[in-house]
């Protein structure tokens, strides 16, 4: 479905993606794991064409998104859905209008059909009845679900999730995980999830890619990752502060800085 080849992205002197090669299989859930600053969100932004990489290609449905012209890129994007970290609902539109927005802009569907579709999508995420509320009136978990309803309203072939469970309580996390899984199994939607939530990742993933400072350090199924011998992978999935992945500079340097005049 998506093939990433030799992708390089630098921000100034910082290499965010270091010659990355990976595949995202059709109708599977692939989770990109990694700590903060490991380049996982950057990878997502290159795959959706929100940013241009310095080098490399992203093949989506056989077309290179990087070299594609604007029209083709926008055409392809109609097959994509994305759930943003902060949900990115339009604050000046109510829930109904937020979800109906892509339909109204991209299609000429009659208003009563739009209403039916929106109601169906809201029912899928368990929020039927909130149509007339404004985004600010919903909790974090609920806005995520509305964001998901909006992402699937055009029946995309692929959905990108940017940290779908960060900042949510355990129950909301469970709900979102179940939704991701359901969308994948019932509607055969390919999913790409960027996350650092190990537990939820193990629950939903068909394949896991672990990024570390712009490099892929591990790739495989849940069991393969769990049994990995790589020390960095072990440290990451067990959440240990000490290990090959450094947390910060030593305490002494910090105190020096604090106390030196």
């Amino acid at each position: 479905m998506i093939r990433v080849e030799n992708l390089v992205k630098k921000y100034g002197n910082i290499v965010a993606l270091n010659n990355l090669n990976c595949r995202f299989e059709e109708e599977k859930i692939t989770v990109i794991l990694g700590g903060s600053g490991s380049g996982k969100s950057t990878l997502l932004r290159q795959m959706t064409g929100l940013e241009r990489p310095d080098r490399g290609s992203v093949y989506f449905d056989g077309m290179d998104l990087i070299s594609a012209n604007k029209k083709n890129l926008y055409q392809k994007r109609k097959k994509m859905g994305m759930l943003f970290q902060g949900s990115a609902l339009f604050n000046y539109l109510n829930i109904f209008e937020n979800i109906a927005f892509p339909l109204r802009e991209h299609t000429k569907i009659a208003e009563n059909v739009i209403k039916t579709i929106v109601t169906m999508k809201l029912e899928m995420v368990g929020l039927r009845g909130t149509e007339n509320l404004m985004p600010a009136q919903l909790s974090g978990g609920m806005t995520k679900r509305v964001g998901l309803a909006r992402a699937i309203v055009m029946d995309p072939k692929i959905i990108f999730y940017d940290e779908p469970t960060s900042g949510l309580d355990p129950i909301s996390t469970g709900v979102i995980d179940k939704l991701i899984k359901d969308l994948n199994t019932k509607l055969n939607i390919t999913s790409v999830v960027v996350s650092h939530d190990i537990e939820s990742c193990f629950r939903i993933a068909d394949k896991i890619i672990i990024l570390f400072y712009g490099d892929i350090i591990a790739e495989g199924t849940v069991d393969e990752i769990k049994n990995s011998e790589d020390l960095r992978v072990k440290q990451f999935i067990n959440g240990e502060p000490e290990g090959p992945i450094p947390f910060t500079r030593t305490d002494k340097d910090y105190l020096d800085e604090l106390l030196m005049e």
Partner: protein, 376 residues
């Protein structure tokens, strides 16, 4: 409130004894830091004994303070010769933590100030980069405008008219007020010297030509820069921070077409209309002064109409189209450039207003030169 810590200093043959008492917390340390440092420094004896027997409480600030005193101005020999006595055992780990710092040249000032040349070069480079973004953005915008003119159906007219209403109709009172007052004040100031020559009716000519050619367009543009450029920057900046612009893009909608084009078209339509209104009201402001000097309105009217040509009027209006594009584009660019963080939207709003006023001034100058050579 607790008392600040007390201290006493006694010096006897090469030994200074410092007794501290009270609470050595952040607040207490701040109160005595300077005085104790000066007193210990003035004593100049190689050995310092710090007696902490009377200290009731100490936190990290206190430990840092003690460590600072021990390392004070003794050229590296102090550490061995200074002693700390009587500290309650509960606070010793704190002091040990603070003691871990060795005396070595401080590595503060990571950001050493740039030299003047360096800073100027950096500023010029930043400015050129900004200008480049600006020009390429304007190019993209003009391209989008032209291609949307080919298919006017694709323009989001609903949004465009909403923007036109907010930027135009809602701005009528403020544009009216400013133009009226400028017209009135200018006429009044001009009338005083003119009266000496008995030529006060020619104030009408002055007001007419100045308003139509310069002040009408300029006042309108500056009001719009303050009202609309800032509003556009804030709206688009907030959407950027909220990832709404990314959301639009991923949904397959071009943010330039969706957000920026309606605003630019709206402002380009509205600026000339507002200017016509400003011209009228400004001239009306001048009329008030002339009337108060005892001339009939018809005299003022004839004077203005006979003096101001259609060329003057059109010249002013053509400028307004350019001002409209500039103001809207600046607002949108600055909004688009918004970085992450809570102060970012405020910064881009400020930058939007400042940049658009600068651009208005620059382009007004360019137009004046152009019109001069064209003989308008």
């Amino acid at each position: 409130m607790s008392q600040p810590p007390q201290f006493t200093i006694t010096t006897a043959t090469n030994i200074t004894t410092l007794c501290l008492s009270g609470r050595l917390d952040t607040k207490g340390v701040a109160a005595v830091w300077q005085r104790v440092t000066i007193a210990v420094g003035r004593a100049k004896s190689p050995t310092l004994i710090i007696n902490l027997g009377e200290v009731d409480y100490m936190d990290m600030a206190g430990a840092a303070f003690i460590s600072h005193l021990k390392n004070l101005d003794h050229n590296g020999t102090a550490k061995e010769r200074s002693q700390v006595n009587g500290l309650k055992s509960a606070y010793t780990p704190l002091l040990v933590l603070a003691e871990k710092t060795d005396i070595k040249p401080a590595i503060t000032n990571h950001l050493s100030p740039h030299s003047f040349v360096e800073q100027t070069g950096k500023n010029v480079a930043d400015f050129l980069y900004d200008a480049k973004t600006f020009i390429s953005f304007i190019g993209e915008l003009i391209f989008a405008m032209v291609s949307s003119l080919k298919a006017p159906k694709n323009i989001r007219w609903g949004e465009t008219f909403l923007m036109a209403e907010r930027a135009g109709v809602d701005a009528l009172p403020i544009v009216g007020l400013i133009s009226f007052i400028v017209g009135l004040v200018m006429a009044f100031q001009a009338a005083i010297p003119m009266k000496m020559f008995g030529a006060e009716l020619y104030v009408a000519n002055l007001i007419g030509i100045a308003t139509v050619r310069e002040l009408g367009p300029l006042m309108t543009a500056i009001v719009l820069a303050g009202r609309s450029a800032s509003a556009f920057a804030a709206e688009i900046g907030t959407m950027k921070i909220n990832e709404e612009i990314d959301a639009l893009t991923v949904m397959g909608m071009d943010p330039v077409k969706f957000l920026i084009l309606p605003r630019v078209i709206a402002l380009t339509m509205v600026t000339p209309l507002l200017t016509i209104f400003a011209n009228l009201v400004g001239i009306l402001g001048g009329a008030v002064v002339i009337l108060s000097l005892g001339y009939p309105l018809v005299a003022y009217y004839n004077q203005v109409v006979n003096f101001v040509t259609w060329q003057d009027f059109t010249g002013g209006i053509i400028k307004c189209f350019v001002f409209g594009v500039l103001i809207a584009a600046t607002g949108c660019i600055r909004g688009y450039q918004t970085q992450m963080g809570s102060s970012a939207v405020g910064q881009s709003t400020t930058r939007a207003v400042v940049s658009s006023i600068v651009l208005i001034a620059v382009f007004d100058g360019i137009f004046s030169i152009m019109y001069y050579y064209m003989g308008v």
